[in-house]
Structures are given as C-alpha cells and as structure tokens.
C-alpha cells in the first residue's frame, strides 16, 4: 500500500535508505564514543565529529515502549487514515535507539476502536514499499 508521505533521501541519509531497499536496518555508530546514532546526522551528537562515524547493521528486533493515536494531524496527506496508530519501538540490543512505526498490522486501517498495544512486546522489522523503489522500515509484533 502506498504511503501518504514518501521520504526523500539526502546525502547523509542515503546509505540508510539504500540499506532499507536491501532489506537491512542500519544505524550510525561512532567508534570513539561507542554509541549508535539514529536518525543519521552528519556528525556524532556526542563528540561533534564525523571521523569515527560508520554504519552498523542491527538485528531489527525491538520492543514497544509506548504509543499514541493520531486523530487530527497537521500532515494533510495522513488525514484520510485518521485515526491511525503511532508506536515507538526501542532497538533490542540498544534500547536508547528508537524508531517510529505504525505497526504493519494496523497501518491504514482507520482504527475504529483503540487497540490494546502491548507495551514491551517484541517486534521485528520488515520493509514496506512507500513508493516504487523506496522501502521504509516498519515493525510487526512477533506473535
């Protein structure tokens, strides 16, 4: 299903999106600070330099840490899907790193009642097509 808003890569984020197209979830890693970084930036947020930044593949496994449901978005393209689910998941191997997801099973369903979102549930990344040639990460609860 096409997504309401399609991300346009820039030079900093291009490797992330290229990896998504290959079915991999990667994040930046600063070897001198020993920390992962997402979303990608030109420099490390801690040391402020790019010398030690590289890309690191993740497990793609994450846990749900919280959620919201959007009833009235300022993003016009999302209006037809309201109310829709916004979930935050934290990377299993590094819970500091968090991602947005709409949870695949609930995306685009126009929620008719509030879902019972299991905080702490494990999810796995899957990649969905936002537009032709543009895959984005989404998450699915591991049953």
């Amino acid at each position: 299903m096409a997504r309401p808003i399609v991300p346009v890569p820039d030079p900093v984020s291009q490797p992330f999106w290229d990896a998504c197209n290959e079915g991999k979830l990667i994040v930046q890693y600063c070897s001198i600070c020993d920390r992962r970084q997402y979303p990608p930036e030109a420099t490390c947020r801690d040391c402020g330099f790019d010398f030690h930044l590289s890309w690191q593949e993740t497990s793609g496994r994450a846990k749900i840490v919280g959620y919201s449901i959007t009833y009235d978005s300022r993003l016009v393209q999302w209006h037809p899907l309201q109310p829709f689910l916004n979930v935050i998941v934290a990377l299993e191997e590094d819970p500091v790193i968090n991602f947005h997801t709409n949870l695949i099973d609930d995306f685009g369903t126009n929620l008719t009642e509030e879902p019972d979102i299991p905080i702490g549930a494990t999810c796995e990344v899957q990649f969905v097509e936002a537009a032709p040639g543009r895959m984005i990460p989404e998450w699915k609860i591991v049953k």
Partner: protein, 429 residues
C-alpha cells in the same frame, strides 16, 4: 549593532549570576487579543498590535521613546526569527512601508524603530527566542552595560485557516523522520503516555489543573477567553474534549491567537524614576538538549528538566521553598507536570503532579499555580508567564492577586528540550 550570541547561562556550574539585582523588570503593555488577523486590516496586523503594546508599556512606567536605548525581541515569537504562526506571504504586499512580512506577521526592532521613531537605540537584537529567553537576554544586556532601558517585544500571530497544516506528500531533511510515519503532536501524546505508564496516572487527572487555569485566565483582561469567550469551562468540558493525539485532547493544546506584548526593563537606578515598583532579576539560565535518539522519551524529559531546574537553583541560590509565585509553561498542558516535579515546587516529587492538581491550586489557596492562567487560560501568547509574575510581585494583579506571599517568582518555559528560567524578586538581594 552586532547580533549577539552566546549570552546564555547554559553551562554548569553557572554559579550565582554576577548581574544579580542589577536589572529590573518594571512595566508591561499589551495589545488587544484577537483570534486571527484577516490579512487585510492593517490596524489589526501584528505590527500595529506590537506598536500598541510598546506604547502601552512605555506609558505604564511613564517614559517616552527617547528614554529607550535597546530593543530585544522575537520577530515572530520563535528562535532565529521563525514565526510562531504561519506567515501571510509571500504575495503582493501593501503599499510602503509594508514591502515584506515585517510589520505584518513578523515585527523586527528595526521596523519598530522606523515606525515609532525611536532615536536613541544603541542595542537591537531580533535573533529571537521564546519570551523567557528574551527577558534573560535583556537582563544580561543591562547588567553588562550594553543598554540601560530596553523594550522587550513579543508578537504572536495567527492567520485564517488551520494552523501549521502541511500538504506535502514528500518529506525532506529533518521532516523525513517524523512525517514518513505520520508523527506530529503524537510526540507529546507519546511522552505523556509514558508518564502515565510510569506513575500509574491518566489523562483525566489533568482536569483540575486545566480548569483552574481557565478560571485564572478569565481574570486577566488580556486573555483571549476573557475578551471573547468568558463562559465557564468545567471538568466535564475538559473530559469531553476531542482527542488530537492520544493522550492529548484539544483542551491540552493552547489556542493560537493574535496578540503582542512588550516589557520595559532597566537598571535598578533608573527604575527609581519610573512609575511602577521595580522587580529585580535575580537570575536567568537557559538550556538546549537533543534526544538520545529519534523520539524524546519520558527519561529524556525528566533528565533535561532536572538539569535546568538545578541550574536555575544554582544560579539564584534559592531553594524550592523560596518560590512564592511559580509559573511553569503549559503550551501543551502536559508540560507543566514535568516542570513542577523538576523544580519540586511545594514539595512535589516525580510522579506526584496529578495528586497536587487534585488538591487546592486555586488563586486564593495555599498553592496558587499559574495564577495568570497560563496559555490554557489565555491563548497562545506565552506573555502571561511574564506579565502575571510581574504583576503579582508588584501587587497589582487585581482579582488574580494571590493571598500567599508574593516576593519571589520563578517563570519557566518553553519546552523541555529548550528552556529558559527567570527568577525575579521584590528585593535585589
């Protein structure tokens, strides 16, 4: 007149401020408060309203244009000159001097100088910030001798149509990360959801706080609600508010309005010749953070607000029990609990704010929280967070005057991620 940067007190340990008691906040002026500007009526533009507010502030303390040597403002209400509201243009403008947004949906100090005829300005800074930071910057400029009498300007606009709507079907730059997944006000809803999980509370327990703020705001003559919707707002109204992003309802979101306010700040010596009682700035501190990852979590929020509260206490030398008037920001109502708990006002600890709301937070009670009504009680002006503490300490808050001691005030805003705190007192010591 150079654009000044790095004036903030934002690196620990800040220590007691060396300008303590040297700068004074003394006067305030407001424009009328409307819901929107129609884009046509020039006498109701933000520029026109800003001039009204400046003149009212000067009149409030009995000085003239020639007595002012500094203007510090936020052309549009946000940092780096960005508008708090949407902008009217670009489109064909009116006849001169309206050849840009300046004077319409932005108002720079230079535009005010031209329009109002300030002759003795030696310090203008429009780089913009939320109003707490502007007060801090003006206090610093006065304490450092860059200016003696400063007008702080804070215009906030609102135009016809829905607020900040984004019709794009593509996301670029930083907008990629939230917009691709439809993330917007859900950010505030998420953090509040985490707060509720962590402390076993819920959205409905916000009701006493928001209702009390509306009551307080109805007693402030510049409040949008006092001027345009003076009816009672009940807990039932609050609980029936439609959800914007769970757990954030329409009544947790401040209502965009069109209004301007101005403040006169000066030296302790010059204040003696002005019409109002001086309120001394004891300290200003600021902070700027970044989330650990993509989304601001409750852990981020509590860490940042703890740092800023401690920084403010270290800068002023005060303790929580020294704060008589406390004005923590509420642009989203769910912010306020983070600030009360961080500052520990009235002994409130983490997770206890909703219990505190359930007690007596009325104006005439022992814990008069946000006695001006905050944004929830006045509209999205933010300026009640300066005007009300000033008036409380000057003893001219009228029906809003609290009955507990009003000698030391702390006002704090804007966001957990970027904050400014101003400490003021009836005494310079």
């Amino acid at each position: 007149m150079a654009r000044e940067v790095n004036w903030e007190r934002n690196h620990d340990p800040v220590g007691i401020w060396n300008g303590r008691g040297k700068a004074v906040l003394i006067g305030r002026g407001h424009s009328p408060t409307d819901r929107r500007w129609d884009g046509e009526t020039l006498e109701k533009s933000l520029g026109a309203y800003m001039m009204i507010a400046v003149q009212n502030a000067l009149d409030d303390v009995g000085i003239g244009l020639d007595d002012v040597d500094g203007i510090i403002g936020s052309a549009g209400g946000q940092g780096n000159g960005a508008p708090l509201s949407d902008v009217w243009g670009p489109r064909p403008y009116f006849d001169a001097p309206y050849d840009s947004e300046d004077g319409l949906t932005h108002v720079t100090g230079q535009w005010l100088r031209q329009q109002m005829g300030f002759k003795n300005l030696r310090y203008i800074n429009n780089h913009g910030d939320p109003v707490w930071n502007l007060i801090g910057q003006a206090a610093q400029a006065i304490a450092d001798g860059r200016a003696e009498t400063v007008v702080v300007t804070y215009p906030n606009g609102n135009l016809p149509g829905r607020y900040h709507q984004d019709p794009s079907n593509e996301a670029r730059g930083p907008a990629v990360w939230p917009n691709t997944w439809g993330w917007g006000l859900s950010g505030q809803g998420f953090t509040f959801n985490q707060y509720c999980q962590k402390y076993g509370t819920n959205h409905d327990r916000m009701a006493p706080f928001v209702v009390q703020e509306r009551k307080n705001g109805l007693l402030w003559e510049h409040s949008y609600y006092a001027q345009h919707e003076p009816g009672e707002f009940t807990e039932e109204d609050y609980l029936n508010g439609r959800m914007i992003a769970r757990d954030l309802s329409i009544f947790d979101c401040d209502r965009p309005v069109l209004a301007a306010a101005a403040y006169v700040m000066t030296t302790a010596a010059k204040a003696q010749d002005m019409k109002q009682k001086p309120v001394y700035i004891l300290d200003h501190t600021e902070s700027q953070f970044t989330p650990r990852s993509l989304v601001q979590t409750i852990d981020d929020t509590e860490e940042w607000t703890d740092i800023q509260a401690q920084r403010s206490y270290n800068g002023s030398g005060l303790k929580p029990e020294d704060i008589d008037v406390f004005a923590p920001y509420d642009g989203f109502a769910v912010f306020t609990q983070y600030y009360i708990e961080a500052f520990g006002w009235r002994g409130v600890k983490r997770g206890e704010a909703h219990d505190f709301y359930a007690g007596d937070i009325s104006l005439k009670g022992p814990n008069p929280l946000n006695s001006g009504g905050g944004n929830m009680g006045t509209g999205r002006m933010r300026t009640v967070f300066i005007t009300d503490p000033l008036e409380q300490l000057q003893g001219r808050a009228g029906d809003r005057q609290i009955t507990t001691k009003a000698e030391v005030a702390v006002t704090h805003g804007v966001l957990p991620i970027t904050a400014g705190t101003v400490v003021m007192s009836t005494s310079p010591d």
